[in-house]
Symmetry: C2
Subunit: 138 residues, 2 copies
């Protein structure tokens, strides 16, 4: 990953995460995320109406099928300024531990909104990038 790509990841407030279930049905949702220079972390902060956060579709998908794709992009009506960074990687769901703690700290540093939220008690999705592809103007 180039310096420019790393800076683009760090400066972005939102990304889109795609997962798929065993049957190949994809799911994409917008996520907030933190980046430690190597891996990306995203909090599972919703409360499902029924059951635990582990029952959320994206969490279930990752547990049966770890390959994911993340895109971070910029839209502009001047299409010469369009750009995106695609990250193919593997995800796993962390419930606790040192890396979970580090992720919570990074997320709260980047997003003040998380400082009042109990994300430390909730699962964190950890994404280990495999390969990258960037297009257009980052």
């Amino acid at each position: 990953m180039t310096k420019k790509e790393k800076a683009f990841i760090r400066s972005s407030r939102v990304a889109h995460l795609a997962t798929a279930d065993k049957k190949g049905q994809p799911l994409v949702i917008p996520i907030c995320f933190a980046f430690d220079g190597r891996e990306l972390y995203s909090a599972v902060d919703e409360k499902p109406k029924k059951g635990s956060p582990l029952s959320l579709k994206r969490v279930r998908n990752i547990r049966v099928n770890p390959p994911v794709c993340i895109v971070i992009d910029r839209y502009d009506e001047d299409w010469r300024k369009l750009g995106y960074l695609l990250i193919m990687g593997k995800a796993r769901v962390m419930l606790r531990g040192e890396t979970h703690k580090k992720a919570v700290t990074l997320l709260r540093k980047k997003y003040s909104q998380y400082r009042e939220m109990a994300i430390h008690e909730r699962p964190i999705i950890r994404i280990t990038p495999g390969h990258f592809k960037s297009w257009g103007s980052l």
Copy 2:
């Protein structure tokens, strides 16, 4: 789909499309799209370095595995204003015909940028929604 959801789709300039290959590897990319009140259309406007536009990964994914997911969302630093609309559906790749023609017209009406581009000579992805889910503030 509610009137509010339809208005939200129409007013959005960009969406994110997730496809998956046969092995369950997901791919997500930002797309421009037009909506005719029932279906969504997206032009395949990139020129791959090698081969035809049909060799693009998203096109190959759709041809072997039609289920897709689209999300249209709004990000705001005031998280009370976050919202998204999730569309699960089936996609197919159109090369020509009446619906292809209609899609080109809709895309050029919505995006002046397409008026100078040869999207009429390129594939169009047509997405037929199956079900919807909206969350937050649209």
